[in-house]
């Protein structure tokens, strides 16, 4: 059992500001069902540009719910300039600390906040932006995200990086890359054991993608290749599940009513996924 602080328990058992804002100024959505946690953060501004209302929905464990609840309390009353200064550590501190292995919940909070603020400023609804090169294919974490959690939290081991942003928590094939980034940033302060640097050599390059890796890849292709086009037409698409080679998606907004949906799906989504992920994939639509 995790050692949660009283404050974490309080925010989990009595979460603040759960729900949906009908006409939010900004919305940020990060995480996914596949990863085991997801957070949707919404806020409204008053005339003075301060956050007057903040609400959240979370699919996740106790600390994910508590971190989201805490975050809403922290940002209400702040201007966006003030709010965007909040770091994942601030969220963890507000809760009296989180178990090391759960620090990624605080990082998810910070990411959702950034996504929501960006959504307000640019109108883009991108979820978490993928900037830089993907290092961890299992959880889709880029080098920039890894660098950021290392710098902001003074991380020195691969395990810590996994705890803070999930990178390296799946097949572990990226441990040498993470170790190299820690070395680069922390220099002598890095605590890397030899085994982590040799893992890569023993990894079989012909090994098929793990389920998690595949889902992340599918998610990325949807995010980068398909969603922007749909969103330009006032629609969107959601990945419901991946069962073997079956990719189940659901269309939202304009796309859900679109008569040509069959065409869109067969011609675009499946073709793109086959091109980038695997020839065997079959896309199915779950009707809303």
């Amino acid at each position: 059992m995790w050692d949660y602080t009283e404050k974490v328990k309080d925010h989990f058992f009595n979460p603040r500001n759960v729900g949906v804002i009908e006409d939010p100024a900004g919305v940020g959505e990060v995480g996914s069902l596949a990863c085991g946690d997801a957070l949707k953060l919404m806020f409204k501004l008053d005339r003075g540009g301060r956050i007057s209302e903040a609400k959240f929905q979370t699919f996740g464990c106790g600390s994910a719910i508590a971190a989201a609840s805490a975050l809403t309390e922290m940002i209400i009353g702040k201007t966006l300039e003030e709010a965007e200064k909040i770091t994942n550590n601030d969220i963890a501190d507000y809760l009296g600390g989180l178990p090391e292995q759960k620090m990624h919940c605080s990082v998810m909070g910070r990411e959702a906040l950034e996504a929501a603020i960006e959504n307000y400023r640019t109108g883009r609804r991108t979820g978490r932006r993928l900037e830089g090169a993907v290092i961890c294919t299992c959880f889709g974490v880029t080098d920039q995200e890894i660098r950021r959690v290392i710098k902001e939290n003074d991380l020195r081991t691969v395990e810590q990086v996994t705890n803070y942003c999930k990178a390296g928590g799946g097949c572990q094939g990226c441990h040498p890359d993470i170790a190299a980034i820690i070395r680069e940033i922390q220099g002598d302060k890095a605590q890397i054991d030899g085994a982590e640097l040799t893992l890569k050599a023993s990894r079989d390059p012909n090994k098929p993608l793990t389920n998690l890796m595949r889902i992340q890849l599918i998610n990325r292709v949807l995010d980068q290749q398909i969603r922007p086009a749909l969103q330009a037409d006032g629609g969107d698409l959601e990945l419901i599940d991946v069962i073997g080679d079956r990719v189940v998606v659901s269309f939202r907004g304009m796309c859900a009513q679109c008569q040509a949906a069959e065409f869109t799906m067969a011609e675009v989504v499946q073709a793109r996924l086959r091109e980038f992920v695997s020839e065997e994939l079959v896309v199915e639509e779950q009707k809303p």
Partner: protein
């Protein structure tokens, strides 16, 4: 506060009779069974007696049983021994849903150059015997397949698997940690070569287990340095543990009927009612062939750890296959191997009962659980599509064998 323990596949309450039997061996009866005085000799007799008690439960010879420190040691010893004694054979066959004690060991040898076949399971968690047969080759040193799955309770047909493996001239090990004590066992009828069991899963103490080694099967010890356990497991005997395990085996035999009667009824009652009351819930596993005490239910769109925390607050102890409870970031390999969708894996809850549970407790769980699920679904942004109707029936599907 209530304390309703429904996590008996993790560990069980030690039976009072077992504790009582053990106590003297912590105090007055502290002799070393190897000593040349009656102080030690009496201990030797008691250990022999415990071995007989265990042999009766399994219907085997007492000399075929080696006391170990638990299920994990038994599994490790069995696998390592077979491979060491058959150095020319370089292939291991197992399944995708084994306990880490077997899985990690098998993969350890895979990294050292062994070929490893992890047989897939279908949507109900069953293996295909034809696939098993096809997987075995002249190079196969060992087939190791669990008897009953700890997460879903699914029972593999070891009575069919063992003869099949033996007909190919290959050694067969089964991790029976979850099965022994919950279902009748007869090793005179089933040609298993090696079998692992654990004390604390059948109301015995922790830190004690058994490795069954069929008469004539050679064994290379894992722990060396003494003549104990017929020179097959060194180290001064854990007398209280052994005495306790012996008693637990005797009690298991006696309570087998209750386990398959009253416990099964309570499990079915719990399962039926939770499925009836909670929308978007499903059973993971093969309801036709399952341990009588286990049900694994997925509550979609909510996360397991959060469910467990709220249940815990109500005094209900269960477990989950979600990533957050596993200590790693990946959710249950068992449910994923069965093709259970991610939406359902993260919200999977295992209730495992024992003869110490009462119908009142089960009624309480049936009353309280739906509220917990509902509460978390109100926080979650995921939900079923409004007019989706009944969850779609998934056809069992076998994946390719991973070679």
């Amino acid at each position: 506060m209530k304390n309703i323990y429904l996590d008996n596949n993790a560990t069980t309450r030690v039976a009072e009779e077992v504790v009582e039997e053990m106590l003297p061996y912590f105090s007055n009866l502290y002799g070393n069974a190897s000593s040349m005085h009656s102080f030690g000799g009496n201990i030797r007799h008691k250990i022999d007696y415990a071995r007989q008690q265990a042999a009766q439960l399994l219907n085997c010879g007492p000399e075929e049983l080696i006391f170990t420190s638990g299920g994990t040691e038994s599994d490790n010893t069995a696998i390592r021994s077979v491979l060491e004694l058959n150095p020319n054979k370089r292939h291991i066959v197992t399944t995708r849903v084994e306990h880490p004690a077997v899985r990690t060991m098998a993969r350890h040898f895979q990294r050292r150059g062994y070929r490893l076949t992890e047989l897939p399971v279908d949507a109900y968690g069953r293996i295909d015997l034809d696939q098993l047969e096809a997987a075995i080759s002249n190079d196969t040193a060992l087939v190791t397949i669990m008897h009953a799955n700890n997460e879903t309770g699914v029972i593999f047909p070891v009575d069919k698997i063992a003869p099949l493996v033996k007909s190919k001239g290959v050694l067969f090990h089964t991790d029976a940690v979850q099965a022994v004590g919950k279902m009748p066992y007869n090793l005179a009828d089933i040609p298993v070569d090696l079998l692992s069991l654990s004390g604390h899963k059948l109301h015995g103490p922790k830190g004690i287990g058994i490795l069954y080694v069929r008469r004539g099967t050679p064994l290379s010890p894992l722990i060396m340095g003494g003549h104990q356990e017929f020179s097959r497991r060194a180290g001064t005997e854990n007398t209280p543990g052994i005495v306790g395990l012996g008693k637990a085996c005797e009690l298991a035999q006696k309570n087998m009927e209750e386990e398959n009667g009253r416990v099964r009824q309570m499990r079915d009652w719990l399962e039926t009612h939770l499925l009836r009351v909670c929308p978007d819930a499903r059973v993971n596993g093969d309801r036709e062939s399952r341990l009588p005490n286990t049900t694994n239910i997925s509550f979609e769109y909510v996360e397991g750890e959060a469910i467990l925390l709220l249940l815990d607050q109500l005094g209900i102890a269960a477990s989950s296959g979600s990533a957050c409870t596993s200590g790693s970031l990946e959710p249950s390999h068992v449910l994923r191997a069965m093709g259970v969708p991610f939406t359902a894996v993260h919200g999977s809850i295992r209730f495992s009962l024992s003869r110490y549970n009462t119908i009142d407790e089960i009624e309480y769980v049936i009353r309280e659980t739906p509220g917990v699920i509902k509460r978390l679904r109100q926080i979650s942004m995921f939900s079923s599509p409004p007019d989706a109707g009944a969850p779609r029936e998934r056809k069992p599907r076998l994946d390719r064998i991973s070679g």
